[in-house]
Symmetry: C2
Subunit: 176 residues, 2 copies
């Protein structure tokens, strides 16, 4: 039995595929850029940031770089995007109203302990698992951009810029 969420995927996709005309796009992004933003449900990157199909890689994750995160999934994807698939510009876009602006590690651990029990919390503690909340939005954008600009895993010629998307207005503004 598939749930309502799965039924929606199947029926929406049938409509999409029945009218699909982009089956011959190549693997490397045509406009050679990469957008890094949040998984937040209120963001539609293609629509809000003007990304046409085939033009750009889009990485979406709750959080991104910060201290010690050089081995992160996001960085791994960025390396692949740039080194194997030729992108040379990164737009890093955080947003207002992000959960990570208000949560603290302590709060998150408490919720996990309550909902999933001591075993789950212990697994996270054993890994010193850091959810990387950030209280300062613009500051976090600058920090992540500096991290990428300084990393020797990002080639010198790659352009990295940082932005804030306002979920209240749909507007994007440049930070750095």
């Amino acid at each position: 039995m598939s749930s309502q969420v799965q039924e929606n995927l199947v029926s929406s996709n049938e409509k999409y595929a029945s009218n699909f005309k982009h089956g011959d796009l190549p693997l490397p992004p045509a406009k050679k850029y990469l957008v890094v933003t949040c998984m937040d449900a209120r963001i539609d990157p293609a629509a809000a940031f003007g990304i046409s199909l085939g033009d750009a890689h889009v990485i979406r994750n709750m959080m991104f770089t910060q201290a010690g995160a050089s081995a992160s999934d996001a960085l791994r994807s960025i390396i692949i995007s740039q080194q194997l698939l030729g992108t040379n510009s990164v737009l890093l876009i955080k947003h207002t109203g992000c959960g990570m602006l208000t949560f603290e590690n302590r709060d998150i651990y408490q919720v996990i302990n309550r909902n999933l029990g001591q075993g789950a919390t212990g697994e996270l503690e054993a890994q010193s698992f850091d959810f990387q909340p950030f209280p300062d939005l613009e500051g976090a954008v600058r920090e992540d951009v500096e991290f990428l600009r300084k990393s020797q895993l990002v080639a010198k010629g790659v352009e990295v810029s940082g932005w804030v998307y306002e979920v209240e207005s749909g507007r994007v503004r440049k930070v750095i």
Copy 2:
């Protein structure tokens, strides 16, 4: 001076924001689900998977779980999505034509060494950095779904399903 990519972001977003009517959506996803898919430029999750603004978290990354990846960014985002923001269904969607079907770690290291030099390669080697390529698409979908279903960091009631998106046809099909 902003590049063409940045100019496109600004001008496209101006149009989007001038007609924006969703400024009051709450933080938790209305339909309580989470889509995990790839950063590939040929995927538009909102359009292809029928996701309306505010309905679902969308995580996009080159790769996902697999051996030893329990501390991954993706899992971190999944925990936040489920424990703090109430999602209870995960659609995990990999796709045909993915770069990670053909690359091997060895190839990726060679390219990085050539483009970025020994310092960059050394930094990755010091971390035993694994790009997690996968030769078997359906197998990788099953593996990731099993990983999530077994993880004690995912609550028992959460529904996890696995899918393949065909970039050639725009069609999605269920694997598990």
